[in-house]
Amino acid sequence: MLRYLARKLFIYLLTFIVAVTIDWAIPRFMPGNPVDALVSRIALMPDANAALTSYFMAAFNLDQPLWQQYLNFWSALFHGDLGRSIMLFPTPVTTLIGRALPYTLGLLLPSILLSWYVGNVVGALAARRKLLDNSVLPLGYLLTATPYMWLGILLAWVLGSTLGWFPLAFGYDQSLKVEWSWQFLGSLLYHWVLPFASLFMVALGGWAIGMRNMIIYELESDYANYLMALGAPQRLVRKYAFRNAMLPQITGLALQLGAVVGGALVTEIVFSYPGLGWLVLSGIQNQDYFVIQGVFLFIIVGVLLANLIVDIVYVIVDPRTRVGLQGDAA
C-alpha cells in the first residue's frame, strides 16, 4: 500500500515540478516579450521606453541569468508570492484568486460529486434493462458530446432569459452588500443554480455510460455467472457487479478532473460568475499575465491534490492495493 501511494506521490511531485517549470518557461521563451507589451501599453514618449524597459527588466529580475531566475521563481512560489495583477495594480494575484476560489469550488465540488454519484446509479440501473437503456444511452452520449458552455448558454436562454426563472449573470444580486445575511445567502444560492445545473448535466452523461458498460461487462464475468448458477437473487449479483464496476469509475474520476475544471471555467464565463474562469477571462482580455499564470498554478495544485485524495480513497476501497497485489496499474 505504501509502495502504491509512494509511486503516485512521486508522479505528482514530478508533475508539479514540470508544471511550475512550464509556468516559468512560457513567458521567457515565447515569441514576444511581456515587458515590451507592458511598456507599449503605458505608451510614453519614445525615449522613455528604453528607461522603462530596463526598469521593468530589473524589477522582474529578468536581467539575471536564467538559472537564477528559475530559483527565484521557486522561492517566490514557496513564499506564496504569485506577483501582482496588472489590471488591478497593485493587488497581489493571490488575493484575487482567493476571492474567486470559493465560487469555483462551490460550483465544482457539488457538480463533480453529485454527477458522479447520480451517473453511476443511473448507469447501473440502465444496464441490461432494455427500456431504460434505450433512453439513457442516447441521452448520455448527447450530454457528453455537448460543449459545457453551450449547455450553459441554452439553460441561460430558456430558463433565464425567456422564462425568467433564474438570473442570467453574476454570483449574487449586485444591489446586495456582501455579508453573512440570509438574504445574501439566498441570492448566492439562486445565482448558483443554473451554472451548477449545466456543469452537472454535461458530466452526468459520461458517468452513466461508463457505469452501464462496466456493469454489462461485470454481469458477463465468471463470478456473476457462478452466482447466478447457484441461484443467487438478481439483486445480490448486481450488488457485486456494482462494487466491482465502481473501481474504474473512481480512477476515471481522477482522469476527468482536468476536463471538468476546464468546463467550469467556460461555464463561469457564460454566467459572468465571479470565479476563476471569469478571472482568467479578464486576465486574457487585459493581458494580465501574472493572473493567468497564477490561476494556472492554482488549478495544477488543486487537480494534483484531488488526484491524491482519489488515490487514497482507491486504496481504502480496493483491498488489492493494500496487500501489494496489482490493483490499478500505477
Binding site: A145, I153, L257, V261, V280
Partner: protein
C-alpha cells in the same frame, strides 16, 4: 460467422474478412445514423463556404435579423451573416479536429507501441512521461500557452491540442500491444530476425487496426470539443472565425438577453451533433469489429 437470416440471396458474411465487416457495418443502425449525421456536417464544411453569399466577418447586413431568405441563419448584432460564419467555423472545426487527432494519434501510437513492445526500462520511462501528461490539467496548459501567443493560427491550435491529448491513447495502445506481444506469431517474427519496426507495423499494428481507428475517432471528437472551449475563451485562432468564437461573441454581446437564438444555437448544436455522432459511430464500430457485441 454464418449468415443469420439465410433469406438474403447474397448472404455474404462468410465470404471474406473485409466483406464480413462491411456486411455488419451496413446493418448497424448506430454506425449508419452516426455516419449520416457526420457526413451531413462534413459536406456543410466542404461546400457551405461556397454557398455562402456573404463574407463571414464583414458588416454589410442589417443587424440582428432573424433567419430569412436572404440571410438563412439570420444576422448578428453587428450585421454579419450567421450562415457564412457557421459554415466557415464548421470548416475550422474539422481542420483542427483532423490535424490535432492525427498528431495525438501518431504520438500515442509511437509511445504505446514502443512502451508495450519493448517493456522494461523503455516502458518505465515512457509510462512516467504518459502519467505526468495525463495528470496535468492540459486545458490549463493550453490556456497559458495560448495567452502568450499573440498571433495564433488553426495549425498552432491543432498542434497544441494534439501535443496534450495523446496520453490516454498511448496508455490504451500500450495495453493492447502488451497483450499482442506475448502471442506466438510475434514470437515467430522475432525468431525470424525481423526488426522491431517491422514487427510493430507489420505484425502488431494490423492486428489492432480496428482499435486504432476507434482511438482516432475519439481523439478527433475530443479535439473538436477542446478547440471549441479554447475558442470560446478567446484563445482560438486570431485570423479566422470558429464555432466557439461565435458563441463567445453572442454571449458577450447580450444575444441571450435579446433572445437572438439563431446566433448561439447553430454553433453549439453543430459541435454536439458532430461529436455525438462520432461517439455513436464508435459504439457501432465496436459492435461491427467485436463479434461478441454483434446483436443481429
Amino acid at each position: 460467422m454464418t449468415s443469420t437470416t439465410g433469406s438474403a440471396p447474397t448472404s455474404p458474411a462468410a465470404k471474406a474478412g473485409r466483406n464480413e465487416v462491411l456486411y455488419f457495418a451496413l446493418r448497424n443502425t448506430k454506425l449508419l445514423i452516426g455516419a449520416v449525421v457526420f457526413t451531413i456536417f462534413l459536406l456543410g464544411a466542404i461546400f457551405g463556404p461556397m454557398l455562402a453569399t456573404h463574407e463571414p466577418m464583414t458588416f454589410d447586413a442589417p443587424p440582428g435579423m432573424p433567419p430569412s431568405a436572404d440571410y438563412w441563419f439570420g444576422t448578428t448584432l453587428f450585421g454579419q451573416d450567421v450562415f457564412s460564419q457557421f459554415v466557415n467555423g464548421l470548416r475550422s472545426s474539422f481542420i483542427v479536429g483532423t490535424l490535432a487527432g492525427f498528431t495525438a494519434a501518431i504520438i500515442g501510437m509511437f509511445i504505446g507501441f514502443f512502451a508495450g513492445y519493448r517493456g522494461g526500462f523503455v516502458d518505465e520511462v515512457l509510462n512516467m512521461l504518459t502519467n505526468v501528461v495525463l495528470v496535468i490539467p492540459t486545458f490549463a496548459v493550453l490556456l497559458v500557452v495560448a495567452a502568450y501567443l499573440s498571433v495564433r493560427g488553426l495549425g498552432t491550435e491543432a498542434a497544441f491540442i494534439g501535443l496534450t491529448s495523446w496520453p490516454w491513447a498511448a496508455r490504451a495502445i500500450r495495453a493492447q500491444t502488451f497483450s499482442l506481444t506475448s502471442r506466438d506469431f510475434v514470437g515467430m517474427a522475432r525468431l525470424n530476425g525481423e526488426s522491431t519496426l517491422r514487427i510493430i507495423f507489420g505484425e502488431i499494428a494490423p492486428n489492432m487496426s480496428s482499435y486504432l481507428v476507434m482511438t482516432f475517432i475519439l481523439l478527433f471528437g475530443g479535439a473538436i470539443l477542446t478547440a471549441a472551449t479554447l475558442d470560446f475563451i478567446g484563445l482560438g485562432p486570431t485570423d479566422s472565425i470558429s464555432l466557439g468564437l461565435m458563441m463567445n461573441y453572442s454571449v458577450m454581446n447580450a444575444a441571450l438577453q435579446l433572445g437572438m437564438w439563431w446566433w448561439f444555437v447553430p454553433p453549439g448544436l453543430a459541435i454536439t451533433a458532430i461529436v455525438g455522432s462520432l461517439y455513436v459511430m464508435n459504439v457501432g464500430l465496436d459492435e461491427v469489429f467485436n463479434p461478441k457485441l454483434r446483436a443481429l
